[in-house]
């Protein structure tokens, strides 16, 4: 049952316990105590976004973490006391907490944070909660900042509590120079990529590597779509280096996906068959360990560092360029969106039941290109048009993605089959693997059957007209 919670910060040096007693008429519920905890959050600030404050070792719902590791944000030491307000039956009707926190660094002097008061509603006693809150808000020096203890502590250690979410935001308007837009996007993407390197190296969770790869892929997309604004030689060099970086980080990511998919794919199997696949899982983990060693060497190596440096240098060169770099970015982006959309419509309409799988794979690659264009430059165009186009594209890409993913999964499973045969429990694992491959093939066929409908929606006449009109 949802209960309201309000946090207030005390601007003055007044003792918060005194305020609670005097202003709210609260009484202590147990003795005040000292607390010492390391507040945690995910790299992309999920706890902060949900308004949840947790210390190390305290439970966090799986749905909230969404597979991400909980990382230490700041160590906070507090003197805290619990208080309650009771009604005429001596029943608790409001719960409060007064806290005087400070952030403790490594050997440095503690940084005091503003004292805070938390007011918590007791279910069924809304009036009492509102009354106490109103009285506290009217008191001198108490302010509802909307800032949690996690946010306050995070800022105190110089970290944005929102974390690094991997999104890039173009601040330029439609008429901004293409060269400046390229610079802005490339620098933001380089920041995201670099921020994710330590987590990917330490394997804190699989999303660090994924976000690193997405940033590289998006940067490659900027290089492709705004190619005209870069000096050709430098562009060719950075494109080659980012391609290398993408390839160097690919195998571990593929195995991460494979391992995650294995759990989903085996849901339909009986317990015994699932257990048979333990040998396969162990094999994939061994491969992952090998590939991780290579990944670490690559990311720590000179080439990766140089790639990131040349990426940033190219961003600066784009801003300094003339010619295409001086054109309005919206004009260039619109040209590209129109062009890629037109090609997708053309290529897709040639696909029929006899087309080879490669035709669908190629269409998916084009779809990705269009998606990145819309992600990077979408804010320059009418929001409802972009939304409608993204929706139709997403539906199509889901089917194409499933078709391609199943193909890759079948390929990987067949590739390990030989090795698996010789492993402990190999023969029974091979039988279970056979069932799995069969199911994957069937699903791939289903995806292919669904393709036609989705494509027709994507390439419908009104959609084409909308693209032509909106990205003129």
């Amino acid at each position: 049952m949802p209960r309201r919670v309000c946090e207030l910060e005390l601007a003055s040096g007044v003792d918060p316990s005194w305020v609670l007693a005097e202003v709210a008429g609260a009484t202590p519920d147990g003795p005040a105590r000292s607390e010492d905890r390391v507040l945690v959050d995910t790299f992309d600030g999920r706890l902060h976004a949900a308004g949840v404050v947790r210390g190390e070792g305290e439970p966090v719902a799986d749905a909230l973490r969404a597979g991400r590791a909980l990382l230490p944000v700041a160590r906070v030491r507090s003197r805290a006391g619990e208080f309650v307000v009771r009604n005429g039956d001596a029943k608790i009707v409001v719960r409060l907490r007064a806290e005087r926190p400070e952030v403790v660094g490594d050997g440095d002097r503690p940084v005091p944070l503003p004292a805070r008061v938390t007011v918590r509603e007791v279910l069924g006693y809304a009036d009492a909660y509102e009354e106490v809150l109103a009285r506290l808000k009217a008191a001198d020096g108490l302010v509802e900042t909307g800032r949690s203890l996690l946010a306050a502590a995070s800022w105190a250690v110089g970290r944005d509590p929102a974390g690094v979410d991997g999104k890039v935001r173009l601040s330029l308007g439609r008429s901004g120079r293409a060269g400046d837009a390229a610079r802005e996007l490339l620098l933001q993407l380089a920041d995201v990529a670099e921020a994710n390197v330590p987590g990917a190296l330490d394997d804190l969770d699989v999303e660090f590597l994924h976000d690193l790869r997405v940033a590289v892929r998006r940067a490659r997309s900027v290089l492709r779509e705004l190619a005209a604004v870069f000096p050709p030689d430098a562009l060719a060099h950075v494109r080659a280096e980012l391609k290398w970086l993408q390839a160097a980080t690919g195998p571990v990511r593929d195995l991460d996906v494979q391992l995650a998919d294995l759990d989903v794919l085996t849901e339909g199997l009986s317990d015994a068959r699932r257990a048979d696949l333990d040998a396969l899982r162990a094999l994939l983990w061994r491969h992952r360990a090998t590939q991780r060693r290579k990944l670490r060497a690559a990311l720590r190596g000179r080439r990766a560092k140089a790639a990131l440096e040349s990426w940033r240098t190219l961003a600066t060169q784009a801003a300094q360029g003339a010619g295409a770099a001086d054109r309005p970015v919206a004009e260039l982006a619109a040209e590209r969106i129109r062009h890629v959309h037109r090609r997708m419509v053309r290529d897709g309409s040639h696909i029929d039941d006899a087309s080879p799988p490669e035709a669908l794979h190629d269409l998916r690659k084009r779809g990705k290109e269009l998606r990145y264009l819309l992600e990077l430059f979408g804010p320059l165009f009418a929001a409802d048009v972009v939304r409608s186009l993204v929706r139709a594209l997403k539906e199509l890409q889901d089917v194409l993605g499933r078709f391609q993913d199943r193909a890759v999964q079948i390929e990987v499973l067949e590739a390990v089959a030989g090795e698996l045969a010789g492993a402990d429990g190999g023969p029974s694992a091979l039988m279970a693997l056979g069932l799995l491959v069969e199911e994957l093939r069937a699903d791939q066929e289903r995806a292919r059957d669904e393709f036609r409908d989705r494509f027709e929606r994507f390439a419908a006449k009104d959609q084409r007209a909308l693209v032509k009109r909106s990205f003129a």
Binding site: M1, R3, D89, A90, K91, I92, V122, L123, G124
Partner: protein, 247 residues
Amino acid sequence: MKVVATYSIKGGVGKTSAAVNLGALAARSGLRTLLWDLDPQGSATFLLRIRPKVRGGAGKLVRGKRDPAEALKGTDVEGLDLLPADFSSRHLDLVLDRQKNGAPGVGGVLDRLADDYDLALVDCAPSISLVSESVFAAADVLLVPLVPSPLSTRTLEQLQDFLDGHSPSAPRVLAFLSMVDRRRALHRDQAESLPERFAGVIASTPIPNASVVEQMATRREPLRPRSDGAAGAYAQLWDELRRVLEQ
């Protein structure tokens, strides 16, 4: 959400004390716990210092006309919420009878709260009625206090017969010896022999006849956590109940 109903045909056998104390123990162990006081006398509601009032009456709840979430009250034990008693629930039988099979009943009310709680304890009125049948249909476990007496096992057998005959998905019965006075030979003897004879049906932990339990009515709060005495006995009973629920 698991549903446990504390139930007894007779009153004054320690049913409500068990519901309140086990509810508090469940909440303190981290389970989001709901206690529904279905006894029109409202003893559990009184013990938790909450006023016995459900707007629109309990009838509207079991007819599905009112959202039970709006009637909930947080107790002084964090994690334990109460759906309070209402004097009108003495007419619940009539409501259920009029609706026959059309009313969502006790199970329907609990279903609407199932996402918000891990455990619901229903403190039933002492009787066999349409209300108790509706509770039996919704409960996973019936927790039955037995005051040691030569007839106590007979009560249990009658209840089991009734359940076998009436409820298509009969809840599991877990009885426990209640108000055990160790100064009395019969109580001592039954507290030792019955749990063994009825292993799995009668909990091995007896709840003593202790003044602290009686004083709950004047202090108006569940027993404070302790490892000995009556509080310790409830804690052990909670462990047994939890194991049954996990099966």
